[in-house]
């Protein structure tokens, strides 16, 4: 029995190594989507937002900037890939959970979901000109007329960045 085990041990080690390497390779795949950048108008006084505020801003609560003005979140359409990924990463909700959350909130008499626009490009164009507006976009698609915020002090390229 022991001899049999010793025979298959190298195979098991090799298999485990392949699995680990494969997982690492997958994690570091260049095809992995870029992290989300949280963007505001270039002249916004805002430079950082906490993940707590970001979450509650996109859950319909009132969050204000350093100038005391209400921040206005812009969403992407409910079925867009980025919206689903953002909701999962920041709100911790699947598409159905998100939909149920907004329905329940409206029935309680609370405000509805942030306004959704058709594309991240359109959202950024609005954000660039609208004081207090904010949206999320893949880092690879950020337009030059908006400013990327730090989230809990981290930029999207930092390893501790949480909005991915």
């Amino acid at each position: 029995m022991r001899a049999t085990f010793m025979k298959v041990l190298p195979f098991l080690v090799g298999l485990a190594t392949c699995l680990v390497c494969g997982r690492d390779a997958h994690t570091a795949s260049p095809e992995a989507p870029a992290p989300f950048a949280i963007v505001v108008a270039a002249n916004s006084p805002l430079t950082n937002i906490s993940i707590y505020d970001l979450k509650h801003l996109y859950m319909g609560e009132l969050v204000t900037g350093p100038d005391g003005k209400r921040l206005i979140p812009l969403n992407q359409s409910a079925q867009s890939v980025d919206r689903l990924a953002f909701d999962a990463a920041v709100l911790g909700m699947t598409a159905d959970q998100g939909a149920a959350y907004w329905i329940d909130r409206r029935i309680r008499g609370q405000s509805g979901s942030p306004r959704a626009v058709d594309s991240s490009d359109l959202a950024q164009r609005i954000v660039a000109r609208f004081d207090g507006a904010m949206t999320y976009v893949r880092l690879s698609a950020v337009r030059p007329d908006v400013k990327i915020l730090r989230v809990d002090g981290n930029l999207p390229t930092d390893p501790d960045y949480r909005v991915r």
Partner: protein, 469 residues
């Protein structure tokens, strides 16, 4: 006229759809000016934005001609900004005002089981319980309005609350549009109607008729939102008034992952016509403090609520004084001071939900407002009393079909001589949410009444589908 309006709307929708499609296509175009990863871009004046649009798409215009797609995108940006501004920044010109109509409804089946079925008039029944319509509107400049009405078949088919064992109300009338055949009319209950303005995260002022901000269930309110079928017994007994008419202030403050919040209320209080009149010119006050904490162990909400008011019911009594002069004065039918206290807890962690509420209500009659007792075996006049109760509920929502098995238990003690001095119940059920807008519920209740009668236990099987629209 209607056809013209519809045609115009369809055309507008079609045009909008085309615009959206173009915008979507635009979003897929590569952006040559986009920075690389990790390079925060610098600001560009908004007037330069059209230049950022890629001209590489098939059928693109020459460099000298304006790009129609660019103008479409600009028009879309401008339209979106106008909409957002009108809703959020207070620049509503009053020309295109948006009213959101939505609501919920539920349909239930209930069957009494065992001995309890022998003493009930209706042991197996279908019913449409709630048909609630919301009318909500963002009025601009942080003003917001909400009206919720419930359409009912009532009062048809129900006995008066003052005589619950009497004959049911029949609202049948002749329908002149159908050869005078009988039709039964129903009623409308205004659940809430308020206007509010947010001045700051710490202060929103709401006026009108609003749901009393206490506990969990009274605010959850709608059948698609609440887990079980029907309200917990203590919530249904209205130890706090379900809604009030007056002024409510509320706000929140955040400290890292902790949120503290408050509600303060001033209202007509409870009364037979509290939505339109304060029968005793004695305003009721109330309040709620709550905190919410988020951590790796989920979200914990803890709250406590208070209500202090006077109930008065009176009528105009006519008489003749010693000089033979006719007099008219209000006579008190019933009047009492009341104090209600409550505490609630709600914990959500992944699919787990645990919640509970404890509510107490103390009633002290005024000397002129003590009522004659109608309870058999009780003293001639109603005594002051304290009633209280509690419930707890636990459930776990699975990802599969949104299934949530749940269980709940509750206790209620009336505190005064009454037909049901106290009760205890236990229930188990399944709450399914196959799609976000549809909720299916199946529930079994066992209720134990502390009565001097053979019918101390009641078993109930019920099912409900609730949907939002």
């Amino acid at each position: 006229m209607l056809r013209l309006t519809l045609s115009a709307s369809l055309l507008a929708s079609f045009t909008l759809a085309l615009g959206s499609g173009q915008a979507g296509a635009q979003a897929l175009d590569p952006e040559p000016s986009s920075p690389g990863p990790g390079e925060p871009p610098t600001g560009v004046p908004p007037s330069d934005v059209p230049k950022a649009i890629s001209p590489a798409a098939p059928g693109a215009q020459s460099a000298d001609a304006p790009d129609p797609r660019a103008s479409d995108v600009e028009a879309q940006v401008a339209e979106e900004m106008r909409t957002i501004q009108s809703q959020a920044a207070g620049s509503d010109q009053g020309e295109h005002h948006r009213l959101d109509l939505y609501g919920f409804a539920d349909f239930s089946y209930m069957r009494l089981l065992g001995d309890s079925a022998a003493v009930s008039a209706s042991t197996s029944t279908f019913s449409v319980g709630n048909l609630n319509l919301y009318m909500a509107s963002e009025l601009g400049d942080e003003w917001r309005s909400l009206v919720e009405v419930r359409f009912m078949y009532l009062p048809n088919g129900a006995p008066p609350s003052a005589n619950p064992y009497g004959p049911v109300t029949d609202t049948s009338v002749s329908d002149p549009t159908d050869f005078g055949r009988p039709i039964q009319w129903g009623g409308i209950h205004i659940e809430r109607a308020w206007l509010e303005r947010t001045f700051h995260k710490l202060l929103t002022v709401r006026v009108g008729n609003w749901l009393t901000p206490y506990g969990i269930w009274n605010v959850d309110h709608g059948s698609p939102v609440v887990i079980g079928i029907g309200r917990p017994f203590i919530v249904g007994e209205a130890l706090f008034p379900a809604s009030q008419t007056g002024i409510e202030l509320y706000g929140t403050a955040d400290f890292n992952s902790l949120q503290l919040g408050y509600h303060l209320t001033l209202s007509n209080g409870r009364g037979p016509a509290s939505a339109i009149a304060d029968e005793d010119n004695n305003k009721a006050i109330g309040g709620r403090l709550f905190l919410r904490h988020e951590s790796a162990f989920g979200t914990l909400n803890v709250g406590t609520s208070l209500y202090r008011g006077q109930y008065s019911s009176k009528h105009l009594a006519y008489g003749v004084d010693a000089n033979g002069v006719a007099t008219a004065a209000y006579a008190i039918d019933s009047q009492y001071d009341e104090l209600s206290l409550a505490a609630d807890l709600k914990w959500q962690w992944r699919g787990l939900l645990v919640q509970g509420e404890v509510i107490e209500n103390e009633v002290a009659y005024t000397p002129s407002g003590r009522t004659v007792s109608t309870n058999p075996g009780a003293p001639a006049f109603d005594s002051d009393y304290r009633r209280w109760g509690a419930y707890g509920l636990a459930g776990y929502r699975f990802a599969f079909l949104g299934v949530m098995p749940y269980a709940s238990t509750g206790y209620y003690k009336e505190g005064s001589p009454s037909y049901i001095p106290k009760l205890w119940y236990f229930l188990v059920g399944l709450n399914l949410r196959p799609t976000p807008r549809v909720v299916l519920k199946l529930q079994y209740d066992h209720i134990h009444f502390y009565l001097d009668s053979p019918f101390q236990d009641e078993n109930l099987l019920s099912a409900q589908t609730a949907w939002s629209f």
